[in-house]
């Protein structure tokens, strides 16, 4: 025991850790492993066929493409929002700061129907886009809009604390050495917040890939065109194609785990940067 943990006079270690491990195993680990174990019922060829049919490949393209585009937009505007919230003063700032987390708190189904009504041909925004030939609802653009909404807080909330911690002395020194504001931003501020920005981007991307609730209302869900991978899993499940659904779920799980690893590495990088600065 002594090699496993350092001595402490506090009680309850065995009980707390035992309960934690039992609960995690029952709720998270065993159910997750079920997905991997059930796929072994397929041969490698069957598995590969199930996860590479044209319809599935089209869903990957849409899911990853829209998630990437949404995360990119969120990186740009998330940085802008974080900057404005940290650096400037304007009326309603506190309220806006609190509302940034709305996509975390609003159930995805509500976001889905609200965005659909907004961007439909007769919606508040859709009616102005339609005459321009831009259709958002029931097209891949709608998927992008929904994923932008749900990923919005991630970049803001990862960049904000780092921006708050930047010492003004650095910027003053840069100004005294003759740098203009743009140079100070690109050479001093941006490199400092870059790891946090990347972390926020990765978090928004990871969240967008798995998103279901907000997307299915606005996507139109046409096979090969506007059908996301999570929806395809449900479709297969409803057709009692358990093996096919599980195979796709495993692909999604593996991608999630890789992204989780990347996010952990990015956070470690950011902390090391922070420690050196």
């Amino acid at each position: 025991m002594s090699t496993f943990r350092q001595h402490s006079i506090l009680p309850g270690f065995n009980l707390a850790l035992g309960f934690t491990l039992l609960y995690l195993s029952l709720i998270v680990l065993i159910p997750l492993s079920a997905a991997f174990i059930r796929t072994t019922e397929l041969t490698w060829e069957e598995f590969w066929f199930a996860v590479t049919t044209p319809r599935v490949l089209a869903s990957y393209r849409l899911t990853f493409g829209a998630a990437f585009a949404a995360a990119l937009v969120n990186a740009v505007f998330g940085l802008l929002v974080a900057w404005v919230l940290v650096r400037y003063r304007f009326p309603g700032k506190k309220l806006i700061d609190a509302l940034v987390d709305l996509p975390f708190a609003l159930p995805t189904a509500v976001a889905g129907i609200a965005l659909t009504a907004l961007y439909a041909g007769n919606g508040w925004i859709g009616q102005y886009l339609e005459p321009l030939g831009i259709k958002v609802a029931f097209t891949p653009i709608g998927v992008f809009v929904a994923l932008t909404f749900i990923g919005l807080p991630f970049v803001v909330r990862t960049v904000q604390p780092v921006l708050e911690d930047i010492e003004s002395e650095l910027e003053e020194a840069a100004a005294m050495l003759g740098a203009n504001r743009f140079q100070t931003f690109t050479r001093i501020i941006f490199p400092t917040i870059f790891p946090a920005l990347m972390t926020g981007f990765a978090l928004a991307f990871a969240r967008a890939i798995g998103e279901y609730g907000s997307v299915i209302f606005i996507a139109g869900n046409m096979p090969m065109v506007s059908e996301i991978t999570p929806l395809l899993i449900i479709t297969k499940l409803e057709q009692y194609d358990y093996a096919g659904a599980t195979a796709l779920a495993v692909v999604m799980l593996v991608i999630s785990f890789i992204l989780l690893l990347v996010i952990n590495l990015l956070q470690w990088w950011g902390r090391r940067r922070g420690a050196l600065a």
């Binding site: 707390a16 850790l17 940034v100 708190a105 909404f149 604390p161 798995g210 449900i234 785990f257 992204l259």
Partner: protein, 295 residues
């Protein structure tokens, strides 16, 4: 260095050399607000507008209709089971992780966070693979006439899964930052485990605990994807509020769908308000925690 006071003083001292020109400032503020208006505020306002468009009679009729009331009851029941379970788990996990040093701690923290990175649909699917008719326990459950999938039990399980990390991930950094000195002093003075926890630890972590609970509850009541897979969508029986919104919407009953959705939007706004209030209470230890981690 005191991280809490630095940003304020920095802002006060910021002079022309480290401040953008006014036109740049207001352009950036304008762009940021335009983006937030388009993607956040307009959708939020639209929910309430659509809900009340046909008058308050239609609005309240949609909410007191039996299927809606049953959905409200189910959503409250599910949250009332899932949140306390994850509360106990969060406290136990944080106690083990924050107060003791042991091998594999970082792996354990990653495992606790795992449900956040799993797609909601997959979170539901894995329970179907275990408890569904074709699942591992399916035949046994059918023999004993126990229903998990397409029943309340399945909805609770899927909800517990997606909300596992909320309370634990709030408490772990908070309790790590607070260290173990106070608890050690209590034990040295003869307090037993429960006394140490309830009189020393609990008062220190109560705001963090409340914060995590608020977020956990919001997700538990609002979860859609995972619950959708295991629910079976039986009206008046296994329909939660978010699923009820979907059914009404797909029936083109938009006024009713938005009326029920407005309840969930209100829940989200209350959540944000409570969260902001609690946040100000825990700002201090939170910033210490950041310092602790970067040190």
């Amino acid at each position: 260095m005191n991280a809490t006071t630095l940003p304020t003083t920095a802002r006060v001292r910021r002079t022309r050399a480290t401040q953008e020109p006014a036109w740049v400032r207001w352009t950036l503020i304008g762009l940021a607000l335009a983006f937030l208006t388009l993607f956040l505020f307009v959708p939020l306002i639209l929910v309430f507008y659509e809900a009340l468009k046909k008058g308050t009679d239609v609005y309240f009729a949609a909410i007191i209709e039996p299927d809606a009331l049953s959905a409200i009851r189910l959503t409250l029941t599910v949250a009332a089971i899932a949140v306390p379970l994850n509360l106990v788990f969060g406290v136990a996990a944080a106690w083990a992780i924050a107060k003791f040093e042991f091998r594999g701690k970082n792996l354990l923290i990653t495992l606790i966070d795992l449900p956040f990175s799993v797609s909601p649909v997959v979170s539901g699917l894995i329970y179907v693979l275990i408890f569904g008719l074709q699942g591992w326990l399916g035949p046994w459950l059918a023999e004993h006439d126990i229903k998990v999938i397409f029943a309340v039990t399945g909805i609770v399980l899927a909800t517990v899964f997606v909300t596992v990390p909320f309370i634990a991930r709030e408490l772990i950094p908070l309790m790590q930052a607070q260290g173990t000195e106070e608890e050690e002093a209590a034990v040295a003075l003869g307090a037993n485990g429960w006394q140490t926890f309830s009189r020393v630890t609990l008062p220190n972590i109560k705001w963090g605990l409340l914060y995590g609970t608020i977020l956990c509850n919001a997700r538990a009541m609002g979860e859609f994807g995972a619950v959708s897979v295991v629910s079976g969508h039986i009206r008046g029986s296994t329909n939660t509020l978010p699923l009820h919104v979907e059914i009404l919407y797909n029936e083109y009953n938009f006024a009713a769908a938005f009326a029920v959705a407005s309840l969930l939007a209100l829940l989200a706004l209350v959540t944000l308000a409570l969260k902001t209030m609690v946040e100000s209470r825990i700002t201090q230890p939170k910033e210490n925690a950041n310092e602790h981690r970067s040190a």
